[in-house]
């Protein structure tokens, strides 16, 4: 496409220069050619920037759509009727809260230059973030676009955790915990994996190059593992597991899951940060993995329980999308199918068998899907990543080096394990400490009476459904 655009521009330039030669006094031919080439170069840059910027703004909007309404509906349908608004407003509240934090200091801590662990304050209050590209990350789009795109990731990550705290965490506790978590867990992890000079950054010379295209460690392991910590710290919901707590509307969850699937194209293909072949590759890998995981979960359910379910289908799709996230910009479509299938079956086992065995109350399976799926995906990225898709490693002469295990780079498995361990450790320790602080300051769990009456009424003073007979 670039070649075609270039050709077209070349024709225009040649045509206009021809005209000028006829109408004006001819300048020295060499100098004229020089000027025209510079102009052509300028126009090419502008054209590419326009294309990339259009796609990236679209992607940013798609990723925001994953939180609201995608995740809000997905989780909203899974809770009991009396807690519907409470869980939805947590997602929506985070859209507002994280945006403000991001502008003040979040973006700078993630992507400003700093230490290998966390960024500095260079871009605090969005200083120096304008229409000029930040060449370290994306040379063809305004840094404003890059900043707002990354913001959408920072929003959905804490929102994922609310799946584990559902139906029993106070709203004020959620606000305080998520604020601290975004700054103390998300920011360092995002900086380590994606920030310039980050410890785990594979593209910009980190000490332990971990492959994470769109957030398997930063988004899914971090939120999933923190979700497990939250579920354990908060304790079980009153009545769990004896009382029935079935989802109150799988129709809402179904719509939410479909929006997540579509939004994920912005999440993964957008992570190419350009409208190029890599984006196309990530788009296809994402879609294939979701399909395979849907089949994997349904098949596992059909074999072990005798019936395939709608909830199983949508849960499988989300598990596949989670697992392909770190791999999406590194693998071809067939390995994407394998990754999806593994995640579909693996996450099914986690939420049905492992959860029952260990007895923790991860209400909406944030750990079972995001923690487990993220870990499976991050590991398999190290197996299937290939230079044919993304020549991310080079030798001194600039020649592409093998990327994953099957590509001939066995050491990558080790680096993936380092990245996984770092994400697990940060999420585990960070969440325990921050929950303790939050608990001491504002309290994290509602009273039993509030829980029985429902969080919609007791925390927010409203009900989701006021239906007339």
């Amino acid at each position: 496409m670039k070649a075609a655009a270039g050709l077209a521009l070349l024709c225009i330039v040649l045509a206009t220069s021809g005209l000028r030669a006829q109408t004006a006094a001819a300048p020295a031919p060499a100098a004229a050619a020089q000027t025209d080439l510079a102009k052509l170069d300028q126009r090419l840059t502008t054209a590419q920037s326009s294309a990339d910027n259009a796609w990236m703004l679209m992607s940013a909007a798609l990723v925001l759509m994953m939180t609201g309404p995608g995740l809000a509906l997905f989780y909203g349908g899974l809770v009991r009727q009396k807690n519907t608004l409470a869980i939805m407003v947590q997602s929506f509240g985070l859209m507002a809260l994280i945006t403000v934090l991001w502008g003040v200091v979040g973006y700078s801590l993630c992507f400003g230059e700093g230490t290998p662990i966390i960024g500095g304050f260079r871009h605090a209050l969005l200083r120096g973030v304008g229409v000029e590209p930040n060449a370290d990350y994306s040379a063809t789009i305004p840094q404003l676009t890059f900043m707002v795109y990354q913001l959408m990731f920072a929003i959905i990550t804490p929102a994922l955790i609310t799946g584990a705290t559902a139906e029993r965490m106070t709203f004020r506790g959620t606000v305080v915990f998520m604020t601290l978590w975004s700054l103390c867990v998300y920011a360092p992890l995002a900086h380590m994996v994606w920030g310039k000079g980050g410890l785990l950054n594979a593209a910009l010379g980190g000490r332990f190059p971990t492959l994470d295209f769109a957030g398997g460690t930063v988004v899914h392991i971090s939120s999933g593992v923190s979700a497990l910590v939250c579920a354990l710290y908060l304790g079980k919901r009153t009545g769990y597991p004896k009382e029935p707590m079935p989802p109150h509307s799988l129709v809402l969850s179904f719509i939410g899951a479909c929006l997540l699937w579509v939004g994920w194209f912005g999440f993964n293909a957008g992570s190419a940060l350009a409208s190029n072949g890599l984006a196309a590759s990530a788009f296809v890998a994402t879609h294939f993995a979701a399909a395979a995981a849907t089949i994997g979960w349904l098949a596992a359910e059909w074999v072990t329980r005798g019936r395939p379910s709608a909830l199983g289908a949508i849960s499988g799709a989300v598990a596949g999308l989670v697992a392909i996230t770190p791999a999406s910009g590194f693998v071809t479509p067939m390995p994407a199918l394998v990754i999806g299938l593994s995640a579909g079956v693996g996450c099914f086992v986690m939420v049905t068998i492992a959860k029952a065995r260990f007895g923790y109350d991860d209400a909406l399976d944030a750990f079972g899907v995001h923690g487990a799926g993220g870990t499976i995906g991050a590991l398999l990225t190290g197996v299937f990543a290939t230079q044919a898709v993304n020549p991310i490693f080079h030798d001194a002469q600039g020649r592409a080096l093998p990327v994953g295990l099957l590509d001939g780079n066995g050491a990558q498995i080790g680096y993936q394990l380092v990245g996984i361990a770092a994400a697990w450790a940060f999420a585990l320790v960070g969440s325990v400490v921050l929950l303790k602080i939050t608990d001491l300051v504002v309290g994290v769990r509602v009273t039993e009476d509030q829980e029985i009456e429902g969080l919609d009424l007791t925390e927010h003073g409203e009900e989701a459904y006021n239906l007339e007979m």
Binding site: P244, S309, L311, V351, A356
Partner: protein, 110 residues
């Protein structure tokens, strides 16, 4: 004067209503209820967690009839609501002592 209380399958309500209309009984009250008799419920599974759905939705039809129409009304309900499978429901006949019409305040026979 008797109160006939029939608990029937939800999809049989219209048939019962028509049948009672043919017995010249225009008035009735219908309520959504849940319950079980011999009919077993079924199992729902959400992400591997099983729930017994033992209370199934039924419709309760209440109709007050003069003594001479009781047998005919009961027969009409049974014929209309029967499928022959477990879960068809029950009919109860209960004596009614008095009846008043709210609009006029008069005591009435029905």
């Amino acid at each position: 004067m008797k109160l006939i209380k029939a608990i029937v399958r939800p999809n049989k309500v219209d048939d019962v209503k028509d049948a009672l209309g043919r017995v010249s009984l225009p008035g009735m009250t219908v309520t959504e209820v849940r319950g079980h008799g011999k009919q077993k419920g079924h199992t729902a599974i959400y992400r591997g967690k099983e729930y017994d759905v033992s209370l199934l939705p039924k419709m309760e039809i209440e109709v007050v009839v003069p003594d001479n129409l009781v047998d005919e009304a009961v027969a009409a309900i049974i014929t209309a609501a029967r499928t022959g499978e477990i879960g068809d429901g029950r009919v109860f006949v209960i004596p009614v002592e008095q009846s008043y019409r709210i609009r006029t305040g008069e005591r009435s026979d029905i």
